[in-house]
């Protein structure tokens, strides 16, 4: 009895589904990417209209002030008197340092002004009151 040899099997990998695989990857990364938006305290930013965008992220340091008056810099709770030293260390290495003040709507000006006076002592004079666009 004679057997017929199967020789017509092609050994190439089909590339027809390649785009689908890449699209799947694209969608996977799109869905799973979460932008890290919050690294400080839980706050509600105030809104304003005449706002400008900060120029560079590298030269910006954040100070968070919660409505209870807690101050956080780089995920550490600070006392008012300690702000000066932390910021001064930053100011020494970066002459173009801008401080982005992220304070809660309900924060009291007493605490804000205390922090501002600390910034003045640390010679970090460029300040930015972080706000949201009004109407968003």
């Amino acid at each position: 009895m004679k057997f017929k040899k199967k020789t017509e099997i092609s050994s190439e990998i089909s590339t027809a589904s390649m785009p689908d695989i890449i699209f799947m990857l694209l969608i996977f990364f799109m869905v799973t990417t979460v932008l890290r938006t919050e690294d400080g305290l839980r706050i509600n930013l105030p809104t304003a209209q005449r706002i400008a965008q900060l120029k560079s992220k590298i030269h910006t340091s954040n100070i968070w002030i919660s409505k209870d008056g807690f101050i956080s810099i780089q995920d550490k709770i600070h006392q008012v008197e300690d702000v000066r030293w932390t910021i001064y260390e930053k100011r020494k290495v970066d002459a173009e340092l801008t401080i982005s003040l992220k304070a809660d709507k309900e924060a009291r000006m007493g605490q804000i002004v205390a922090v501002q006076n600390e910034l003045r002592k640390a010679d970090a004079l460029r300040l930015n009151y972080s706000t949201l666009m009004a109407g968003d």
Partner: protein, 129 residues
């Protein structure tokens, strides 16, 4: 003459992967994580005292319940911009000195600063006593 047989029109799919890659790279490159936005201000340096002519200073006081006193009279927050613009038309060296009570809400303060920014006024932050 021989009739040409119709073989079926197929779209080339071999370059599809490249197109998808290009899209992926395009979006990777053009995506910028949104930057911080806010009201910029320059604080006065420590120990720096300016002698200002009294007539160039416009005092803006905010009390603990968010009421604003501009010059010598109380004013609605939304009218500050217009009022300061008028004042600046009369005196272009005008500096607005903002003072707030220790118990003033930050939001009220930001609204006032926003109004002053809208009038392109020179803002000076006075220390609260």
């Amino acid at each position: 003459m021989k009739k040409r047989r119709f073989k079926g029109a197929a779209i080339q799919t071999s370059s599809m992967a490249d197109i998808a890659f290009l899209l992926l790279i395009f979006f990777l490159v053009t995506t910028t994580i949104d930057m911080d936005k806010g009201l910029g201000i320059i604080l006065p340096a420590e120990g720096e005292i300016f002698e200002m002519h009294q007539k160039n200073i416009l005092n803006c006081l905010i009390n603990s319940s968010g009421n604003v006193l501009l010059g010598d009279e109380p004013i609605e927050v939304k009218n500050i911009s217009r009022f300061v613009k008028e004042k600046m038309a009369q005196n272009e060296n005008l500096i607005v000195s903002v003072k707030s009570h220790a118990k003033t809400r930050y939001d009220d303060y930001i609204q006032v600063i926003d109004q002053l920014k809208m009038a392109d006024a020179k803002i000076s932050i006075a220390e609260t006593g």
